[in-house]
Amino acid sequence: MKLTTAPEPDGRIGAMLSVEGLTVTFPALGSRVIDDINFTIEKGKTIGLVGESGSGKSMTSLAIMGLLPEGAAVEGSVSYWGEQLLGNPDSAMRRLRGDRIAMIFQDPLSSLNPYFTVGFQIAEAYRTHRGGSRRQARGVAVEAMRQVRIPDAERRVDHYPHQFSGGMRQRVMIAMALVCQPDLIIADEPTTALDVTVQAQILTLMSDLQDSTGAGMLFITHDLAVVSDVADSIVVMQRGKTVEQGTAEAIFSWPESDYTRALLAATPRLDDIVDLPEPLRGTR
């Protein structure tokens, strides 16, 4: 039984998102892909989920959003402002997703429909949840594009996804995710496909937007340097299990587990100098 905490100013109680004992199995295959994951996300805070491929970090986000593949069985609890999301009917989850809970994925090109203008797609994300006329929604789309600093938004709103660079496309995805002013953002490797300079811009943008909206964020990445930059606290995952979790400072300054230490040791750093064999001059 949890203690009741003081209500938020808007009357809501407790953590924005509270994940307890989250476990996903595929009974037909006899496999357990994530096992007993626990964390909470407070307003304005970012939780980083890190791990290598197969660690279950993406599966965790899919379980939270109710997007698990067929044949998956889920146990535990995912509560959003006190409302249990696990076992929620699809219709209720669809109302939440894209409205209160937004998602940003790795590859904007495969998440955007090439047949529609970006403006139309952002506007539809808005109209699906808020209704209103197309014309009104178009105005909202332009505003959202401005917010993510896409230059010349009034003109670009009528362009198609292929007419944007990778970084600008990811801005479009973020605009679409934020258009309903969600309070929880789930970002799964949102900058992994981007060039470093663009990655830096997108990370700055996401953190600015988070500061101004107070949204909570679940940030999934394999990149320790990125997560150290964005996350307040971190869950390190390996093969579906939590290896360790704590504040970003604790994980990076005083890691407890051998796995976290091994990950840190394997991460290449710009100022690491490795001995290399001496080149041979001339040709033989």
Binding site: E52, S53, G166, D195, V196, T197, V198, Q199, A200, L203, H222, D223, L224, A225, V226, S228, D229, A248, E249, F252, S253, W254, P255, A262, L263, L264, A265, A266, T267, P268, R269, L270, D271, D272, I273, V274, L276, P277, E278, P279, L280, R281, G282, T283, R284
Partner: protein, 282 residues
Amino acid sequence: MSFDDHTPLLRVQNLVKEFKQSARKQFRAVDDVGFDLSQRETLGVVGESGSGKSTTARMVARLIDPTSGSIEFQGEDVTTRTGAALRHFRGNVQVVFQDPYSSLNPRHTVEQIISAPLRYQGRKVSGGYRKAVKEAMDRVGLNPDHSARHPMQFSGGQAQRIGIARALAVEPKLVICDEAVSALDVSVQAQVLDLLRDLQREHDFSYIFVAHDLAVVRQIAHKVAVMSAGRLVEQGPRDAIFDNPQHEYTRTLLSAVPRINPEWESARKSRDEGNLTASSGN
């Protein structure tokens, strides 16, 4: 033909690649790129997407033809080689690609994959191809008993070792790694980088290491070429480029690389050292 102390293994000069964009417009993907590479030396080619780094590597591997410029290998112009002469060049220059699953034929066994360049080169191998394949697998840390398996039966890191074994089988002089470790998890990436350095030490390989990840390049390259929009904006020895970059673009690139908070890094290191002293004192 010249074999002497001054001819580099590879000399690339004024390399240009133009692609047709429309009936009248040409897009210059690579613009006047040149560098030298010695034996047992690694050149890291860095840049963002669209910088022309992969196109440059592919031209050097003679996978695509340059619009102009020259590629000299061991003092000989190989830019326009065809037929048997090109095949001979390919015996000296091999490529490892980014995605092992798409660059290795999924229907072939590891043995077929690794022996393919040997067969193509018509190499006579003492003990036969099977033995050569097993030796190559052993060298890259793969279990030689798995030679009858298919690429999909291996993890990403293991599959990339198959790609490396294939490249090494013909004992080339130059191995071109095009984002060869980019798709790998960090722990696997560190192992593959180790392997590449060890192989260089043992076999005097030269590498052209194309990568977008600057921290990785620092772990492997003797010298670095920075590309932007088809041009080589700066090149030089590794430490000069990383510690004292001259070009504005190089500085921008370096400053954009995410870093772990240095205070946290030093807190961890000093605690580790403390633990070490404590345990050795016991």
